[in-house]
Every structure is written in structure tokens, then in C-alpha cells.
């Protein structure tokens, strides 16, 4: 409060703070954590925090890729199916050749995902088909491929090599590998989107594809890249999924696309493209996971979870729209003074 009274640098800091898009979600997260912890202190125990972080890691990795696609004014609904395909591929591979090192598994998963992403990107860009339709179609197709390959079989934890399963439980300096990977992915993609030319180009494509084209940005190549990144990260998430849960069947990751889109939208990435941040999407993933755990800890019917996710998506779009309207109004007001 003192910051408002004293003008000068601290005032500016406060202004900058208020203008951060992700402030709302950070506040929501804080309120939720404090409220739940007060009602049930067990919520903040080491094991509980560890579970939340591990669960949000997989979602955050996918959300980072989805954010890149949504920033270009597209959408990738096929991510859940890509996760399933990658998880099953890697699990089958590792159970067949137990000697393979973890790095090979990671690369294989990313590779499978990247190929699926390239297919999406090619269809969207060169087929002139809207991303919603293409990825709705490939959602079916990739899942179907996994099912016809796997049939009713599943790979169980006891068929997988020890070092693969230990990867999910292992940690460096007390931080689990999965969380570390998620941090690196979200941080790295954020950095690229914020500071590097390719990132700024992706924002430009999302703001106005025609203007970007006229400005000499290679829209086709950028879109292809965005879908490849989304696919590759969904593939990486597949490997993490297989390592974490140990049991993989053809249905792995079914319906994840909804949570990923929710994480991105709740994290402040506008569905019209051109705005929002990747780390916001990562925070969105964290918030969704925390809500899930909080519901369980507070003894609220688990069935509410999906309804809350839906309500959150709608709230986030409404908030985004409100901000857009206010900005537009303030811009016209400024024009009238000129």
C-alpha cells in the first residue's frame, strides 16, 4: 500500500506488476494453496508437493508446445493422441531392448512426436485446412494407429527396465528429473519466444498472418515449426508419462488435449493468437494440477474437477476479452485527444 503513496520508482514497479498478464493466475494459485493448507495442513507435506510437481510436469511440457501453436492463432488438439503414440512406442521399445539408455528413449519419444507434428503442420499450411479440423482429424488417426498397433495389450511396469522407471523417481539436488525437464522446457521455450527473432516472428504471425507475410516473415516455415515443436514436446511428455506410470496401454493420455488447452487459455494465452507467454501456460498447468489435488484434499467430490476446468476456461476467455475491450477503449480515447 505504501508503494501507492510514494511516487517514483516504487510506483513504477507496482504499475509494471499490475500489467503482468499472469498476475491473476499467481493470485488464484496463492489463494488456493493458502486456503487448502489452512483447512488441511497435510496439503503442504513434502510428499504432497512432490506429487503435485510431478503431475504438473507432464502437463506443463505439453502446455509449452501448445502455447507456441496458440500464439500463432492455431490450435493442436492431437497432443493427447501424440502422447499415447509416443508413450506406447517408447514403452514397447524399452521392454524389447532393456539395455537402451534413457537418452535413446527420450530421443525416440521426441522423434515420434516431431513426425506427428510435421504431419499436422504440413496439412495445416499446405492443405489450407484450418488447424482445428486437421488436428481433430489427426486426434482420431494417431489414437487409431496406436490402438490398431497395441490392440488390447499393455506394457506393464515389470517389463520395463529398472533404470527407465527409476528416472521418474530420481532427482538432482532434491529436484525430481521430471520437474527439472519441465522447468528447462518451459524456461527455454519462454526465452526463445521472448528474446529471439524466431519467437517474435511467431507472435507476429499470430497477430496478423497477412501483415507478417507482407513484412517478409516466412509464415509457412514458422507454422510448420510451431506444430513440430508442439508434437515433439507431446512426444517428450509421452516418455515422461511412460516412466512415471510404468503401465502403458493404447488409451494413454486420452482426453489430455482438453487439459492442455485449458492450461494454455487459463495461463493467459489469447485464443485469437499474438499474445500471452509460455511461462504463463506453465503456470496454468500448475494451477490445474493444484486444483485437482486441492479438491481431493478438501474432500470435495472428484467429479467437480472437470466442471471446474470448464468454468475456468470460460472465466479466462471472459477476462481476456475484458482486457482487450478496455485496451481498445483506452486507445480510441487517446486518439480523440490528438
Amino acid at each position: 500500500m505504501a508503494a501507492i503513496a510514494t511516487a517514483g520508482p516504487s510506483r513504477r514497479t507496482l504499475d509494471a506488476l499490475v500489467r503482468i498478464r499472469e498476475l491473476g493466475i499467481i493470485l488464484a494459485l496463492t489463494v488456493l494453496v493458502v486456503f487448502t493448507a489452512v483447512n488441511n495442513p497435510r496439503f503442504l507435506s513434502g510428499q504432497s508437493i512432490r506429487d503435485i510437481l510431478l503431475n504438473s510436469a507432464i502437463l506443463a511440457v505439453m502446455a509449452a508446445g501448445q502455447a507456441v501453436v496458440v500464439i500463432t492463432r492455431n490450435i493442436d488438439l492431437s497432443v493427447g493422441s501424440v502422447l499415447g503414440l509416443s508413450a506406447f512406442t517408447v514403452a514397447t521399445m524399452m521392454s524389447a531392448i532393456p539395455g537402451l539408455p534413457m537418452a535413446v528413449a527420450l530421443l525416440a519419444g521426441i522423434g515420434v512426436g516431431a513426425v506427428a507434428g510435421v504431419v499436422n503442420g504440413v496439412l495445416v499450411r499446405f492443405g489450407g485446412v484450418p488447424a482445428l479440423v486437421v488436428t481433430l482429424g489427426t486426434l482420431y488417426m494417431y489414437r487409431g494407429v496406436t490402438y490398431s498397433w497395441a490392440g488390447g495389450q499393455q506394457v506393464n511396469a515389470d517389463e520395463l527396465p529398472r533404470h527407465f522407471l527409476r528416472f521418474a523417481g530420481g532427482s538432482v539436488l532434491g529436484i525430481p528429473w521430471l520437474v527439472l525437464i519441465a522447468l528447462v522446457v518451459v524456461g527455454g521455450v519462454s526465452l526463445i519466444m521472448r528474446n529471439y527473432r524466431v519467437g517474435r516472428e511467431l507472435y507476429a504471425v499470430g497477430s496478423s498472418p497477412q501483415a507478417a507475410e507482407l513484412a517478409g516473415i516466412r509464415v509457412a516455415r514458422n507454422l510448420l515449426g510451431a506444430f513440430t515443436v508442439s508434437g515433439a514436446l507431446a512426444g517428450l511428455a509421452g516418455v515422461l508419462f511412460a516412466a512415471r506410470f510404468g503401465t502403458v496401454d493404447a488409451a494413454a493420455g486420452t482426453g489430455y488435449e482438453l487439459n492442455v488447452v485449458a492450461a494454455v487459455v487459463v495461463g493467459g494465452v489469447a485464443v485469437f493468437g499474438g499474445s500471452g507467454t509460455v511461462w504463463g501456460a506453465g503456470l496454468g498447468a500448475l494451477l490445474l494440477t493444484v486444483i485437482g489435488s486441492a479438491l481431493a484434499v478438501l474432500d470435495i467430490n472428484q467429479f467437480w474437477q472437470q466442471a471446474i476446468v470448464g468454468a475456468l476456461i470460460i472465466l479466462a476467455i471472459c477476462a481476456d476479452r475484458l482486457v482487450a475491450v478496455r485496451i481498445a477503449r483506452s486507445l480510441t480515447k487517446r486518439d480523440s485527444h490528438v
Binding site: G127, V129, L136, G137, Y140, S148, F303, G310, I314
Partner: protein, 310 residues
């Protein structure tokens, strides 16, 4: 059409009257929901929440039945519930000016979640025989199912509305250019709002019929149906960008999709391989017209260039 002929020749049991009854029962929910979906997509919007509306209506039906209400009261209540759910979508899209894709992804999750809140993961099964029997029954015990009458009647109504009324023409105008339509005096927002109400009501009706057909009210009834409906509508030649498409085309799309799935199933193709086919059809149905038109443009340009050279 070709698929129907090939299917009935190649798959022996496909052409039987018994299979025809099953085919109609299978395509019933897709056909019903596709009718209103066509109108919405023609205006350039989309409604992805239809399957969740179906599930929530089904849950509601089970819950009301468990609470001892007579079925004659439950059915109208469920239709009203569907209309209210549609009105919520309509308000968010037109009242607040939000993108329909994002809104209906949100309500897809919200309505499905509420369906589980209402009924949990159990099922309610003991619906009265004379109602469930009517839905699965056929006219005079023949091959024509009773529900075909419902589908045909509603298809006629929506066909006439879309293709033979000023209201229908205004939908194309909105889809082609909403701003221009607004300036030429078409109440764009109000029109879209009522389309969403209609979509919700029809999804509610589909929920009631689905529940009676399987005699089972479950929260996950119709999960994933929105994909099949969108696939059928696009397959029927409606442009996802709005302004183009016909209702007979969509009905042909529905029949094609259902017949293909039915024929493959009779050939013992696994249910999941069907997903590959549905997905591929969806992509191809939008890809092919685009490819054709781009080939035509290149060909046309080359001809112009040749003419200029001469």
C-alpha cells in the same frame, strides 16, 4: 452413394433390413445434432459442446427418474434443460462476443463435468418398457425404425428453414460476411443466439433418445460424439469458414460416415481402426476441395500465360 452400393455388394449382411434398422438407430444422434450444427457452421461459428449437452441431459434424466418423476414430465424438462444449456453458449458467444470455438471447448468440459456431478459414474437403467420399446421399435414391426420419422421430420423442418426462407438466406449472409450482414439489417447476434438454443434443444432430444435406446442414463453417454458430427458436417461439404454448404449434403455425409462404420464393423474391423477412417475422412473432406481448387487455379494461370505468350 457409391459407398452404399459397394458396401451392400461387398458385405453380405449390410443390405439386410435388420441391418438397416440398426444403421438408422446408430446414426440417429449424429443425424439429429448435425442438423443444427449445419446451421451454426453456415454462420461461421461452431458448437463443440453438443455431446456434453447430450451427456448432461442423459444424467439429468436418470436423476429425475430416480427421484420418482413420471417420464411424461421428465422428457419436456430435459428438452428445456438442453435449451438452457444452448442459451448459455449463445449468451457467451453473442452477448459477450467471445469466440465460439473457445467458449464451446469450455462448456464441453463444464457440461460433461456437471453430468458427472449430477449422476456420478453409475447408471440408471429401469426406464419404462413402452418408451424404450418405441425408440428401438420399427413401424408396424417392419424395417423402418420409429425414430426415422423423427429424423425425417426434423430434417425437413431444418431443410426448409435453411433453403427456402429469408431466415435461411440470412444465415449464409452472416457466414459470408457478418459485418455486411449486420449493416444490411440482419440481427446477427439474435440469430446466432437462437441457433445455439436450437442446437442445445436438439442435443437434449438426442440425449433423451440415446438414454431410451440403450435404456441407460450415464454421465459419459455420447462422449466424443462432437467429433463425428463435425466430421459429418464437413464431409457434407459445409465450409468451416461459413457461408457455404447444404443440408442434403450434410445428411449424405452422415449416411456415408455411418454406413462406412457399419460396413467396417460387419467386416470385423476393430472399433479403433474406425477412428483412423473417421479421422482420415475428416482431413480428406476438407483437403480435397482445397487441393482441387488450387490445381484448378494453377491450370487456369498457365492457360492465361500461354494465351498471353501467343
Amino acid at each position: 452413394m457409391a459407398v452404399l452400393v459397394i458396401a451392400s455388394l461387398a458385405v453380405p449382411s449390410f443390405g439386410t433390413s435388420r441391418n438397416f434398422t440398426f444403421l438408422v438407430l446408430d446414426l440417429m444422434p449424429i443425424a439429429l445434432v448435425a442438423l443444427t450444427m449445419t446451421l451454426i457452421v453456415v454462420t461461421g461459428e461452431i458448437d463443440l459442446s453438443v455431446a456434453s449437452t447430450l451427456g448432461l441431459t442423459s444424467s439429468l434424466m436418470g436423476w429425475l427418474w430416480n427421484n420418482g418423476l413420471p417420464i411424461e414430465t421428465i422428457v419436456p424438462l430435459c428438452l428445456v434443460a438442453g435449451a438452457i444449456l444452448g442459451a448459455c453458449n449463445g449468451f457467451l458467444v453473442t452477448g459477450l462476443g467471445l469466440p465460439s470455438l473457445a467458449v464451446t471447448i469450455g462448456t464441453l468440459a463444464l457440461y460433461r463435468g456437471l453430468a458427472f456431478v449430477v449422476l456420478g459414474d453409475g447408471a440408471v437403467a429401469d426406464f419404462p418398457w413402452n418408451y424404450t420399446g418405441w425408440v428401438t421399435g420399427t413401424i408396424g414391426g417392419g424395417a423402418v425404425p420409429n425414430v426415422l420419422v423423427v429424423i425425417v421430420a426434423l430434417a425437413l423442418v431444418s431443410g426448409v428453414v435453411l433453403h427456402a426462407t429469408p431466415f435461411g438466406r440470412s444465415l449464409y449472409a452472416i457466414g459470408a460476411n457478418a459485418q455486411a450482414a449486420h449493416f444490411s439489417g440482419i440481427p446477427v447476434a439474435r440469430t446466432k443466439f437462437w441457433l445455439y438454443v436450437a442446437s442445445g434443444t436438439i442435443a437434449g432430444l438426442a440425449g433423451v433418445l440415446w438414454t431410451l435406446r440403450y435404456s441407460s442414463a450415464r454421465a459419459d453417454n455420447g462422449a466424443g460424439l462432437e467429433l463425428a458430427v463435425v466430421a459429418a458436417v464437413l464431409l457434407g461439404g459445409v465450409s468451416i469458414f461459413g457461408g457455404k454448404g447444404t443440408l442434403p449434403g450434410v445428411l449424405a455425409g452422415v449416411v456415408l460416415l455411418a454406413a462406412l462404420q457399419n460396413a467396417l464393423r460387419l467386416q470385423d474391423v476393430s472399433g479403433q481402426a474406425l477412428n483412423v477412417v473417421t479421422g482420415a475422412l475428416l482431413v480428406l473432406s476438407v483437403l480435397l476441395p482445397n487441393l482441387a481448387s488450387s490445381i484448378r487455379t494453377t491450370w487456369h494461370r498457365r492457360k492465361l500465360r500461354q494465351a498471353a505468350a501467343h
